[in-house]
Structure formats: C-alpha cells, structure tokens
C-alpha cells in the first residue's frame, strides 16, 4: 500500500511505503500483549525460512524462538523508516532472522547439513494431480536451489517462498533493489543450467 506524502511543493509528492503492520506494531509498543498478533502472523514464515536455511526442524524451531524473543525485547527500538534497511516491521523481523540463522550456522558448523529432501517432508505438500515426472522435476529443482551460493539461495527463497519484493529482499540483505533482481536472474539461470545438464 502506498500513500503520497506532500511536501511544501505540491509538485514534489513523495511516495512513502505504508507498513501494513504499523497499527499492530504501535499497539504492541503500548501493550506488550498485542505482540501476539504479530507473532501469529509471522511465526510460520520465520519458521519456514529457518527450515530452508538450517535443514533441521529442531534447529529451525530454536531459530524461530530466538527471533521472536529478540523481536519482542527490541520492539521499542524499532522505528519504521521510509527507506533504507529494515524499513518495515516485516523487513526488520526477517533481518533479525537472517542474522540469527548466520549465528546459528557459525555456532553449529560441526553438524553437516542434511540433504534437503530428507530434512523436509515433501510428500506432505504434494499435489495429488501432479505426475511422478513433475514431482521428480520439482525435487531436482529444489536440490538445484539448495546448491546455489548462499546469497542467491536466500534471494530465491525470499522471493518465491515468502513472496517478498526485490526491494524488501534488498532491505533484508543490505543490497539495492537492482542487485537483488540480478541475483535472482543469475540464480534462476544457474538452476536452469543444472536442470539441463
């Protein structure tokens, strides 16, 4: 959602992104009990991101827990900004998640990552209409995505699983919108190349 902020000159209207979570964030700042609304909205998304990145359901739960505890304790310090890093609550929360996942990886290097097919129960999400061939193709695509370099993989997951815009992904990853688009373009080209080989 967007609204036009008018400056002194009516000809220089500035488009400011409206954070859909603003009312819930303001309510949670006044009354911590209201944080529950934000938690319920984002818990599955953060868990999903953590699961794709850690490939371990238990670690994904630990990461999710740490993210929300940090978000709750740091909520007073969150300031919505028109532009720049972590401009919306969602981008701010995903940024916390990304840092938490990085820390978890550094801490937990001794455990090799499981193959993604084992870590994720893909059969639970299958489409009964899908043919075995389609499923096999999707599994190969998943494996190809998981073998991408970390930044490309994260960009693909944020774009296709979480449906974030290139701008939001840029805010989370500390990159420009254009750089994220190029990252995704290259990532898809790599996946395609791998599928064709």
């Amino acid at each position: 959602m967007l609204w036009k902020g008018r400056g002194r000159s009516s000809s220089t209207a500035v488009v400011v992104p409206f954070d859909a979570d603003r009312p819930a964030v303001e309510a949670a700042k006044r009354d911590p009990d209201a944080f529950g609304q934000l938690y319920r909205k984002y818990v599955a998304q953060i868990y999903s991101l953590a699961l794709y990145e850690t490939r371990d359901p238990h670690t994904a739960e630990d990461v999710t827990e740490a993210v929300f505890l940090r978000a709750l304790s740091g909520l007073d310090g969150f300031r919505e900004q028109g532009e720049g890093a972590a401009s919306t609550f969602r981008a701010w929360l995903y940024t916390i998640a990304r840092h938490t996942i990085s820390n978890e990886r550094r801490r937990d290097r001794r455990h090799p990552a499981e193959p993604i097919e084992l870590a994720l129960d893909l059969r639970a999400t299958d489409d009964t209409a899908a043919t075995a061939e389609t499923r096999l193709e999707a599994e190969r695509a998943l494996a190809a995505v998981m073998e991408l370099p970390p930044e490309r993989r994260q960009a693909i997951i944020l774009r296709f699983v979480h449906e974030l815009s290139a701008r939001e992904i840029g805010e989370i990853m500390g990159k420009s919108e254009g750089a994220v688009r190029v990252l995704i373009h290259r990532a898809l080209a790599s996946v395609r190349q791998r599928l064709e080989s």
Binding site: F68, L122, V191
Partner: protein, 143 residues
C-alpha cells in the same frame, strides 16, 4: 557493484505476475527462465511449524512480556490462551525481568494498620471491663 540488466528487471516483473497467479506478457527469450521460475515456485513450498511448538513459543513470549507490564498487578494475557508457566519459562522471566519489584506477601500496609487498631481497641475494652469488675468486687459487692 552489480549493474542491473534490463532482462533482470523484466524477469522480476514477470515473476511478480507469476506470484500473483497472473499471465503476464511473455517474450520468447525470457520464457526458459520463466519456466524455471514456475518450477522453482512449485518446488519450494512454505512450511508450518508444529502446533505444539507454536503454542509453546506463544507461552514463552507471554511469560517474557510479564515484566514489561510494570506493576505486576494483572496476570499475563497470553497469545491465544492462558500460559502455564513451566520450569523452562523461568529463565526467560529471570533474564528479562531486570530489577525485581518488591513483592508483598500477606496484607498490605493499610490493612495492617486496621488490624493493629482493632487489636488495640479490643485490648483496651477488655482491660476496662476487667477494671470495672475488680473495683466492684473490692467495694463490697452489689450482687
């Protein structure tokens, strides 16, 4: 610094259409990458946490919010349901509580004053009655 190529911009617009379930304009040179994008979208489903975990975390967050309420007069209202604090919740409370507010066990100061006043008044009445009985018994008895 990465320079955005026009194809990356166009592909991103096409992905926008794909994510919205719309059919955007397709150009033949972009179609192979769009087909890969469709496949990737199908291959990457979102996942949901276990219900038990979601409720457990809701209770932990409710417990962590407790000290933020200040006076501690009200019991914490959980996310969705009332939490049952377990032993594992206590470190969260301890870690985030900061300096603990004094906890009064039993009646408060105002109520203590009333109780003490009542006790003194009762004592005075009993002593007065005992004095009257003693003086009457000393004066020869009126019974």
């Amino acid at each position: 610094m990465t320079k955005e190529r026009p194809t990356a911009f166009e592909l991103d617009l096409a992905i926008d259409h794909l994510l919205r379930g719309e059919h955007g304009p397709v150009e033949t040179d972009r179609e192979p990458l769009l087909a890969t994008a469709r496949l990737v979208r199908e291959a990457l489903p979102p996942f949901h946490p276990r219900f038990g975990f979601e409720e457990h975390l809701a209770r932990r967050l409710a417990a962590a919010r407790l000290p933020a309420r200040g006076s501690g007069e009200a019991s914490p209202t959980p996310i969705g349901r009332r939490p049952a604090l377990s032993d594992t919740d206590l470190p969260v409370l301890a870690a985030s509580a900061g300096p603990a507010a004094p906890v009064t066990v039993g009646p408060g100061p105002r109520r203590r004053g009333l109780v003490a006043g009542g006790a003194i008044a009762s004592g005075v009445s009993i002593a007065g009655a005992a004095l009257v009985v003693w003086r009457r018994s000393r004066s020869g008895g009126l019974f």
